[in-house]
């Protein structure tokens, strides 16, 4: 899901940053400067990107103030473990008041907000992409619901219903997903799908890695899932297996509005369609439940799926007066 424009932006900014670093190097030659001028004259995009990186570079000069006296240079002066000694500013009641006002303003704008969290939900057949303030993304599948709580120290997302794909952006705060009693912490850049089941949930990691703790109450039990691994956990325990890229793509075909079948039974396929549609399909004859299907269907077009099934197999379809479709054996 690499965005072409995003990588182009990054390329330009990268080039701009290199020029900023070079021009500030005392050994920068006249030829370097001429090459820079030529690069900058190429486009206003280059020119603006250079100004942006140069401004950040200049702003960073302020850290010179942290230099302690005449000591010899300490390369680990800004190491994270040493940062704890810096003064902290307590949050004033004033600031909390402002935050409350901000939350109220968002409620006014039509988003469900309660506590410090915000809920996003989809109806049956709906899909929705949520881009969060840190550029993390949540893609909600049909009939799903998440609550997002971004706080100072942690980015927390809870899956309450259905299925979602999470893409954790890089950030200082950990990205934590809660689903069916389990807690998962996604690495920066990780992309994973979580689907709730009647008991527990299924997790598929598409990119990066995720630490899964199926029972947070028991601290010993943590599993690290890497890209290309799918895990299922429930109250009975958990198991994981390696899955191929194409298997992941099929499982996530809903992101393109599709259901991809590759040998699933008719029973499984019908259950899958029923997730996406108010018009429900049922199997009236158990003898056809085990038929194996393959193909690529639109999630919101159960009728074309039914048409495909009835033309391929000895299966008949009846539509009830309330719109429900019943499948039975033909002949």
């Amino acid at each position: 899901m690499e965005r072409e424009t995003g990588s182009r932006r990054e390329t330009v900014r990268q080039a701009a940053a290199l020029w900023v670093v070079r021009l500030d190097d005392p050994s920068c030659s006249a030829a370097d400067r001429a090459a820079f001028e030529a690069w900058r004259d190429e486009s206003h995009e280059n020119e603006a990107a250079f100004e942006r990186e140069a401004a950040a570079w200049a702003r960073l000069d302020r850290v010179r103030a942290m230099r302690p006296g005449m000591d010899r240079p300490d390369r680990d002066l800004l190491a994270p473990e040493r940062r704890l000694t810096l003064p902290r500013f307590s949050r004033s009641p004033w600031a909390r008041g402002m935050a409350a006002v901000a939350v109220a303003a968002v409620v006014g704008a039509g988003v469900m907000t309660f506590g410090s969290g915000t809920a996003y939900a989809t109806a049956i057949g709906e899909r929705r992409v949520v881009v969060l303030s840190d550029n993390s993304r949540i893609e909600l599948n049909t009939d799903s619901k998440v609550v997002v709580r971004y706080r100072k120290g942690v980015r927390e997302v809870k899956l309450l219903r259905g299925e979602a794909v999470f893409e954790a952006a890089k950030d200082a705060r950990p990205f934590v997903i809660k689903a069916a009693d389990a807690v998962m912490q996604a690495d920066a850049g990780a992309e994973m799908a979580v689907r709730l089941r009647s008991d527990g949930a299924a997790v598929t990691v598409k990119r990066g890695a995720v630490a899964l703790d199926p029972e947070p109450a028991e601290p010993k039990d943590q599993v690290r899932l890497t890209a290309g691994v799918a895990a299922i956990y429930s109250s009975a325990g958990h198991r994981s297996r390696v899955v191929s890229d194409s298997e992941i793509d099929r499982a996530l075909a809903w992101r393109q509005g599709a259901i991809a079948l590759n040998g699933q039974s008719l029973e499984q396929a019908v259950a899958e369609f029923n997730r996406y549609n108010r018009q429900q399909i049922s199997i009236a004859d158990p003898s056809i439940s085990g038929l194996r299907l393959a193909g690529y269907f639109q999630t919101t077009e159960p009728k074309s799926f039914v048409a495909a099934v009835t033309s391929t197999f000895p299966v008949r379809a009846f539509e009830d007066s309330d719109g429900a479709i019943r499948l039975s054996r033909r002949g």
Binding site: L18, E45, R52, A102, V129, V131, S133, Y150
Partner: protein, 196 residues
């Protein structure tokens, strides 16, 4: 001409660049369906803004930048093959606001220093060391290379990486005082227009 270009860039640095966090927040409202990257909109807005030869006549730079961004968003919309309609909230206003209006002026330089040091502290170890020696101790890349036993080009790579990380982080910092009108979303504007 060169002199004039320099004035134009100085104007861009002074008036447009500091708007980045606000513009990004504004851009997100046009990207609610996830089809366009808000950072791309800001990037494009900067490129168009710096190109403005008549910058001297611009009285309200924030309004100017906002209009450009809206045009960029519309262009991005026109380029799309499939239009999706989804509404997503703007999370920025849910984030707790750290700074109090009154105390802010006093804390600003200390807060800024902290934010910068925090950003550097988040870099990978070797990158952070190179960056610290360059920015805190003002050692040249050559000196750093000798001190850490690295090649100059490796030092350069670390500096570029560190700068890129910090500039992204600084650009995302949420401005306490929004100069950009981000109170209205597209839908709100549509409703507003419909009432007239």
């Amino acid at each position: 001409m060169t002199q004039d270009d320099e004035h134009r860039r100085a104007w861009f640095r002074r008036e447009i660049l500091p708007l980045e966090p606000d513009l990004l927040a504004y851009a997100r409202q046009f990207c609610r369906d996830g089809q366009t990257d808000p950072e791309d909109l800001v990037h494009e807005t900067f490129a168009r803004a710096i190109a403005c030869k008549t910058w001297r006549e611009i009285g309200n730079p924030a309004g100017f930048a906002t209009r450009i961004l809206r045009n960029c968003a519309l262009d991005a919309l026109r380029r799309r093959k499939v239009l999706t309609i989804t509404a997503v909230a703007d999370f920025d206003r849910i984030e707790p606001i750290d700074e109090t209006p009154g105390a802010h002026m006093m804390l600003e330089s200390r807060e800024e220093l902290r934010a910068l040091a925090d950003a550097i502290a988040e870099l990978p170890t070797q990158c952070r060391r190179v960056f610290t020696l360059r920015k805190v101790y003002s050692l040249s890349p050559d000196e750093i290379a000798v001190r850490l036993g690295l090649s100059v080009s490796t030092v350069e790579k670390h500096l570029v990486k560190g700068l890129r990380y910090c500039s992204e982080k600084l650009g995302r910092r949420i401005g306490r005082k929004s100069k950009v009108d981000e109170g209205r979303s597209w839908s709100a504007r549509r409703d507003h227009d419909a009432k007239r």
